[in-house]
Amino acid sequence: MGPADYNRKRATVDKAVALLVRLGGIGVVLAVFFIAAFLVMEAAPLAAGPAVASRGVLVEAGRALAAGVEPFAEASWSLRQDGHLQLRDLRDGELIEDRELFRLREDERVAAVRVAADQGSLAIATTAGRLAAAPLGFVVDYGDELERSHRLEGTAPRWLIEEGAGPLSAFDHQVDGPTVWAVAAAADGAVELIRGKLKIDKLSGEERISFRKLVLEPQGEVRDLALLESGAFVAGFADGSVRAWQASRDFKALEERGAGAPGAPILQIRALIGSGSALVARDDGSVERWMLKLQESGHPVLGQAAAMPERLPGLRGVVPSSRQRLFFALGQDEVWIGQATAGEYLARIPLPARVRGLAVAPREDHLLLLAEDGSLELRAIDLGFPAVTAHTLFGKVLYEGAAEPAWTWQSTGGTDAYEPKTSFVPLILGTLKGTFWALLPSIPLALLGALFTARFLRGRAREIVKPAVELLAGIPSVILGFVAALYLAPAIQDRMLSIMLLPIALVLVTVALASVWARLPLRKRRILHEGLAPFVLAGVYFGIAWAVIGAGPWIEQTLFGTSLRMWLPEGLGLPFEQRNAAVVGLAMGFTVTPLIFTLAEDAFRNVPETLAEASQALGATPWQTAVRVIVPPAMPGVVAAVMLGLGRAVGETMIVLMATGNTPITGMNLFQGFRALSANLAVELPEAPHGGSLYRTLFLSALMLFAFTFVINTLAEVVRVRGRKAL
């Protein structure tokens, strides 16, 4: 290999390395950019509205009273007037099965059908006024190639009213475990509440159902009815009033549960999933959500939860979703998708004119349109994440079971029908609360300490203090959280007042000492070298802290007659928790103080020594020099230090996770815990199903944290660079 080759090789290596190193630099920028982009990407689908295919599969099904699809949306069922249930393959239009589900008498026809909100059962009323309900189930068989075929589950209907007395004007049913509920209104306005309890005879294994009924005297022309939880029902009248009744606990009487004022005539009432609330649709096109609100008396009272903002012209009915608090409102030639929790319409989808009814697939991935001529059209829909809107994230919402609209975070509950409550407000307030109480002691401590270390400490003393503070900054926050929660919190719960008095006591003692010191003749001041001052003071402080904290219970006893933690709830009605914001503030002080301290110390030290020398040469005292000459030019660096401290406090996770009870409350009480955005992520994200609504909501909250710290850090950097240039 000649020297030319060798040099060429050297040049190539050099270029390659240069490229690699540049990639390293670009990589850092890309990393930040990519993290932000990824968070945005994961959270963005929350903002996308529902999308519906403009056309779908058409199948001829003959005239049916009601229809729907099975979970795979590959077969549709339809119930005909003669009580027959038909299952049709939507892929080829073939009739799979035709079963006489309800055996009707001669000249009797099915008058109306009602499918339960969870699509697990349906009920019919006949022209003779009889009422029956049957489970609605499907079986999937897998073939050799794993292709699916569907059939109806073998089920028997149950007659809830066996002998009718004329046609019913409205009815509803509900299957709740072994209990069947039904409510039916006769033409004269009398309403009957029926409860059937299924019992299995232990000896014979025979199933027996025992019915009990309660009758309500006619109250007016009933337009529609819907059953709610535990034997309550809502009735809508022709005069537009909505009233609720509930069976007494012993099922002996019907108790009235409140009423709404008259308005436009009622068109339909439909219970939402979980039966905690019902949608009331009126002839004028308005849709409202009504529910039983628990009062202080212990009895629930009917009240309106939310009204949809727009009136839909030509409203023909509402179909509640089987999975969430969402509904589909059928207008003249359009479908509106409404979000019942937030009370807003998310989308409007135009329809072919001849549609007279619609059904939603159990998985909410398809809509089934029933046309006048008996054909069915299956259209794919993508609802996106309709449960989360700007209003549910930031606005006050009246949730089921609550008495007032509130900001609530409680993302998951015990059942599938749980109404998720995902308000960021308590989390943001929690983060702010923790940050405030962390910064309150940290900022003065860190800034004063940094000024002293930078301008007054010399030699060995500084060589101890600076690294010591850096060591403090390196303590893992999990250790601080542990100490705060399991040592500090129980140790100071009976000494809360003295913890708050301690800073005042220390300042007073320091001021007193300083005044005495100032009057001492200069000669005597030599006994204490400035570098020793902090160490001597630390000893003094230890003594004072020991005394003040030791006297804590006594002070509280004398002032309140009891401890502060008993006096607060008893005397002021304020809750007291052992793991509270004061404990978090103290513990976070251990991470925030050293951070601000180190950065501020650098800022004070970066002020050229010549300025200080000039100032003192002109006769200024060291203190005057520090305050008037050193501090002003160091200000940008100090501000940057405080901002970075703020960023740290906002993002701190382990301490707030461990040292608070993690209850998402909105109060600012110092003696209560809170739940911060960061801790919420640590608690909930591991359990959140990948790609789901909660998962994306949590990503949005991570994005908020990222954006906040990004702004803070960038501003701090800008301020610092400007400040350095000014020097």
């Binding site: 040049a11 630099g25 860190a446 893992p476 300083a514 010191w517 996770t653 461990m658």
Partner: protein, 436 residues
Amino acid sequence: MSRPAGSARVDYRGSIGSFLCAGAVATVLLAMVLLFTLLLMRGAGAFWPRDLVEWKMADGAVYLVEEIETQADGAIRARLANRELYDLDFKIARPEDILSRSIPADALRLERSENGPFHGYLVSEGEQSWRLRAPDGAEIELPAAEVLRKSYPNQMGLLQRLGAWFAGVARFVTDEPRNANQEGGVWPALVGTSLLVILMSILVVPFGVMAALYLNEYARDTWFVRLVRVAVNNLAGVPSIVYGVFGLGFLVYGVGGALDHAFFSDSLPSPTFGAGGVLWASVTMALLTVPVVVVATEEGLRAVPRERREAALALGATRWEMLRHVILPGARPGILTGTILAVSRAAGEVAPLMLTGVVGFARELPVSGEFPYLHLNERFMHLGFHIYSVGFQAPNVEAAEPLVYATSALLLALVLLLNLTAIRLRARVRRSLAGK
């Protein structure tokens, strides 16, 4: 402003101001000393053999306890042991309720694999089973296999206690955890932490050094360099939990999920790389510690005198040769400082791990004698998370507290040692910077 020197007004303001500043330093130092003392004392105290004290109570009961502390209200808090006999792990009694306190010489302390420690007296030591007498006189039989260690703490002298203490610490570091992490040692957590920081260092050091080289050696002061600096500062300032969120969403579900579909589709739907594991945790940590390495390396690079670079270039070295033979060796202390600081950060950081694969109890270590020896997809234990999981999720937190203190003290000692080393190294770098 002409004041004769002898009659200067008393400078109250200056004195109060500087005293308050000194007081702030004093407060920080005091808080630090108190915190370290608490942790190290309690952590070390967890292994100190305490006397077994026999309490004869006014109500006739007899206990053999380790006295822990006298509470503010005067009552004595003591550890009971013998979990099969009592519902509680601790007994709190007022002194007037205790008729007599004595220290019986033959009091026995057993460490067992079941039911926690035993305090009592030995009756006979058999091949199959041991016969023991409980403090209240009842006889108990214990399978010999359950006995791990016996000791007579009341007979121990100071030296013996010291020996027992050292043995206890050694077992704590090298043993597997027992009884839902509430007893035994932290060996798997130590291994997991080590593996995490090693993998992380392998990833972060080259990347961080390259970025620092770019900033310090290759780039001129352009808008892009300022952008890189803003990016480094932002990486340092982004809350660690956000890294965890990114790690979970992108690495675990995104990259891991894609790997599973491409290479491990046989075992789907149970994930191989599509679930948290030590690899993803390490990558996440590497991202988190990039700024630490960049900042320290830059400082190290700046410490290399300009003349040496110029000399190397003047002798005809290419830029890479100059870096390789002159600058990188000179910057080695800086790089080392950065690495140590990154390691110490990763050893103590917990929040991102909670989303990317740490567990409170892992059945197997992520390193084993079984092919492929290093199981990058395995979940792992971590000292910092161990503190959280035992201190907050253990079935009996109060009983596990001494071990949590011990784990905290161990982690604190490790982190302090690392940081002290880094601080000393950096001081050396800074001295040579100043001397330049």
